[in-house]
Amino acid sequence: MIGKTMSVDAVVAEITKDTVFYDESCGGVTISGGEPLMQPSFLIALLEACGELDLHRTVDTSGYADTQALLKTATCTELFLYDLKHMDPEKHYRFTGVSNEKILTNLKHLSRQGAEIVIRFPVIPGFNSDAENIDQTGAFVSSLPGISRVNLLPYHCAAVAKYKNLGLNFKTADIQQPSREYLESIARRLKNYHLEVKIGG
């Protein structure tokens, strides 16, 4: 197994080492993964502990999670970074192994509960960056209450070396990294839906 088992206290101890940096830069904690909502009770305990320390809390999620757990998480989280990979359920299934239905429903629930959310859209040429999907994404996000920010995350091949080191085959190594111009064209298209779009994030 890679990694190690840690208690909430141990993670909090590690987090508080950097208090001076959070204070100085108005920063805080981002809990990502894997998928943090795979371990909801640990996640909530950790978020509550961070709350006691007055730390700003961000959860980075794929949205593929138990709805109740997600909504409970929202009671102790200041900001969600929420991935939207594709609007088409079938394509989503084909590339990620699961349908996007739950993800989209969860996002609706979360937005209705008033959570602060930034949408993260990984730009993967040949998969999700066609005009149709961009338009659908823009329309969907702008229909949700209180969400206006989208970050475009350009696809990269940084993991190739790590996969190789682990003796694994990196299936998408042949995908080209999107150019700056390409990303800007997608940003422009999304801005038609009155969204604040940032490249990177």
């Binding site: 950097d18 001076v20 830069s25 940084a158």
Partner: protein, 786 residues
């Protein structure tokens, strides 16, 4: 950059440092005629006056600020009364690859015929080395420490604002008052003081003569100048040189020229290492800037041009050539003029002003080797200034370095300075704390702390030579606990530190007796009032520093021994010692275990960091408060300059897995490649060192340009600096690395473990990326360097 500045800059940049024997010849002739006729202070002052009267003077067709130490830019004077170079030394200087100085055949001939025959056995270096005890010589040869006064005079001075309010004629009045007030009936030192004060008086005259000669030359040039604008400039130069340094300056131009004449005076009188610094130059110039702007005598652009002209003058003065160990501990042309920007004023207000911003622009546009500039960041410093500095840092020149003014003040308060004197202090040389214009803060030499541990691991014997250097502290394989090893280390340290201090005190008296600096004494507070020389407790404060090198290496080595030998009993001391003696040959597994399974300093890991704290405290106790010969004491400093490379050459393999002869860690930075958790963890580790008890620490951090891209990069850098200073960090500086370094990183990834690179929207360690990614980043970086 104005066209004038562009021309001057290019000339200065391209000029090859060369040796000028003019000073050596003048000094030798003077000593031949006059030695024995006067007291030593008078002899030194008259020698200085003779130089000011006779040395070749030079005014470049383009310049506004005038005066050179040598006969022309980058022609470097020698100081045979301190160190008389041999013919072999001169040949080495002329041919060595690094920091070469051109030496003509005539110069070598002059040395052979005139200089060497007189100074052999008479130079300070010869006098010092003929007197030191054999145990000192043995430790020195083993690379336990270096000695700053071995071929340079004690230096390290920076000025306060006094010279902008008083001219040499005003100082002469003060000197006369001090002379009149001497109490020959009750003060046994009165006759000595009289000699010193008379010497100061002569030195003031000498500086005025030097300026007058420039005024004459400028007028002569003006007379034959056809171009009306240049003719007017030359007349202005002449008027300025008639005014300063005899009188206090009245405007911006005169103020810069005033400082420059004083600077040249001090570096002509003697070769004090770390030349001379103007201290808080932005604060000193600001009243003149305001006044000139209000009068319409100056605008921002012309002020900037004058500052640029001044900057180039400093760059025209490479350090006098160093040889032997001194060349290794400080192998650079840089003569360490370090200008402080920002900070606090005397009354505690924010010291940043418009001149501070102009100076940041000048260092950015000129990016020359000298002078160094640093920014002093206090809790009151506006973010705008810090960020403007960060934008210059991002260019990758390695400067400005960044200091924590609040910390620098606390360090001085701890050693008994008044709050006003502390605020007017700052950092000069590299990172050394001192009260500008009021203190002799003398660096005495570097201490090889990892080598001290090596002695403890070898019963006091230097394993490289087999000689007994330190006391016998026991066979290390019989140590039953880490505590016993540590006690041995502590005993070795006490012995070596005391040996160093003992001989330093002796050398200090040699300089007071044989080589006083009366001109320098005029401009450092209280020397006139005390009737004492800068080298003889004249200044208000008199500090000696010993610079301890390699805290990273020694901490990591102790951490390795503690963990593997004593805590976990998985490596025996015998096994470890055998590995060290064989430089880990055939013991790669042992070495890798030490490298990869030891908690190292710089990762915010208390196991290692608590050892660092203990070593630091032990160093502090061994050095801090030990008396010097000036009624004051020694303090700890944590600087290494380039000495960590020399000390590494003198050190066998160390227990942190470092191979023999490789560099030890620099300043207070973690060992090369040991810090694997990013810059925030480094800063956290450094924050555990009680830096207030030192006279300065040094932290190097290295980033790729991409890391600091955009406004966000600048924000992040500024936050990092503020966070470190909140943790009482003294200093931090940044390398923004180039392609060559990345190529080296590819060749030797272990040494570049800590090199962060910006990959896309995130950063990663360079050596963790695959070759293609590395290539891609190298290509990108090259684009960015244009």
């Amino acid at each position: 950059m104005t066209p004038r500045v562009a021309v001057l800059r290019q000339q200065s940049f391209e000029a090859q440092p060369s040796i000028s024997v003019e000073r050596a010849v003048l000094v030798t002739q003077f000593y031949q005629e006059n030695y024995g006729k006067y007291s030593t202070p008078l002899l030194r002052a008259l020698n200085f006056k003779n130089l000011c009267r006779k040395k070749t003077i030079y005014i470049d067709p383009n310049e506004l600020i005038v005066g050179e130490r040598g006969p022309y830019p980058k022609a470097v004077s020698t100081f045979p009364e301190l160190t008389c170079h041999s013919v072999e030394d001169l040949n080495i200087l002329n041919s060595r690859e690094m920091t070469r100085y051109l030496v003509s055949a005539e110069a070598i001939e002059t040395y052979k015929k005139e200089i060497i025959p007189y100074w052999q056995g008479r130079s300070m270096r010869d006098r010092v080395f003929s007197q030191v005890p054999p145990e000192w010589t043995a430790a020195y040869a083993a690379g336990m420490f270096t000695e700053f006064m071995e071929q340079r005079a004690p230096g390290h001075t920076a000025l306060d604002g006094n010279i902008y309010k008083k001219g040499m004629l005003d100082f002469k009045e003060q000197i006369a008052r001090s002379l009149t007030g001497l109490d020959y009936l009750n003060d046994p030192e009165a006759p000595d003081k009289a000699e010193e004060l008379k010497a100061m008086e002569i030195s003031c005259d000498a500086a005025i003569i030097f300026a007058e000669r420039h005024a004459d030359l400028a007028l002569k040039m003006a007379a034959s100048e056809a171009e009306p604008q240049r003719k007017a400039e030359l007349e202005r130069i002449a008027a300025t040189c008639r005014r300063v340094p005899a009188h206090a300056p009245r405007d911006f131009w005169e103020a810069l020229q005033m400082y420059w004449f004083v600077h040249l005076g001090t570096i002509t009188e003697l070769n004090g290492w770390d030349a001379m610094s103007p201290g808080h130059l932005d604060q000193h110039l600001y009243p003149f800037y305001q006044k000139d702007l209000a009068d319409g005598a100056l605008d921002r652009e012309s002020a900037k041009e004058l500052i640029a002209c001044f900057w180039i003058k400093v760059n025209n003065q490479p350090a006098p050539p160093k040889i032997g160990v001194t060349a290794q501990e400080s192998g650079t042309y840089n003569d360490f003029t370090n200008i402080n920007l920002g900070g606090l004023t005397r009354d505690g207000a924010d010291g940043v002003n418009e001149v501070s911003y102009i100076m940041l622009e000048v260092i950015d546009e000129l990016h020359l080797l000298q002078p160094q500039a640093n920014v002093q960041i206090s809790h009151k410093t506006p973010d705008r200034f810090l960020k403007k500095a960060c934008r210059v840092i991002r260019k990758g020149y390695g400067y400005p370095s960044v200091f924590n003014t609040d910390e620098v003040i606390m360090e001085q308060m701890r050693t008994g300075k008044t709050i006003e004197d502390a605020r007017q202090g700052g950092c000069s040389g590299c990172i050394e704390t001192g009260s500008f214009g009021k203190e002799a803060f003398v660096l005495t030499g570097y201490l090889n702390v990892p080598k001290i541990l090596e002695l403890a691991l070898n019963d006091g014997i230097d394993p490289l030579t087999g000689k007994q250097i330190g006391p016998q502290t026991g066979d290390p394989s019989k140590f039953r606990s880490f505590g016993e090893l540590y006690t041995a280390f502590d005993r070795q340290l006490q012995y070596i530190a005391d040996l160093k201090i003992r001989v330093n005190n002796y050398i200090e008296r040699m300089y007071a007796a044989y080589s006083p600096a009366p001109f320098l004494s005029v401009v450092i507070r209280d020397c006139i009032a005390n009737g004492r020389d800068y080298y003889n407790a004249g200044p208000r404060y008199n500090t000696n520093y010993i610079q301890c090198c390699g805290i990273g290496t020694v901490t990591d080595s102790l951490s390795a021994i503690k963990k593997h030998v004593f805590d976990e009993n998985e490596i025996s001391m015998k096994q470890l010692l055998a590995g060290l003696h064989n430089n880990f040959e055939g013991q790669q597994a042992l070495r890798l275990r030490l490298v990869n399974k030891t908690p190292f300093y710089g990762n915010d890991d208390d196991y290692a960091d608590s050892i660092m704290q203990r070593v630091y405290e032990t160093l502090f106790k061994a050095i801090d408060g030990k008396p010097n010969t000036k009624g004051s004491s020694y303090h700890l400093n944590m600087l290494s300059t380039t000495c960590h490379i020399y000390f590494g050459k003198k050190l066998g393999a160390s227990a942190n897995g470092r191979l023999a002869t490789m560099p030890i860690s620099d300043g207070t930075s973690p060992s090369h490649g040991a810090d694997r958790k990013g810059p925030t963890a480094v800063i956290k580790s450094l924050g555990k060192m009680d830096q207030i008890k030192s006279g300065g620490t040094l932290l190097n951090q290295r980033f790729l340009p991409g890391v600091l891209e955009g406004d966000e990069g600048i924000e992040n850098l500024a936050h990092l600096i503020r966070a470190y200073f909140k943790l009482n960090g003294h200093h931090i500086q940044f390398n923004i690395v180039d392609s060559q370094t990345l190529r080296n990183a590819q060749a030797a990834p272990d040494e570049y473990r800590d090199l962060l690179v910006r990959v896309a929207g995130y950063s990663d360690y360079f050596v963790d990326l695959d070759r293609n990614h590395q290539e891609e980043i190298i290509a990108r970086t090259e684009h960015e360097s244009f």
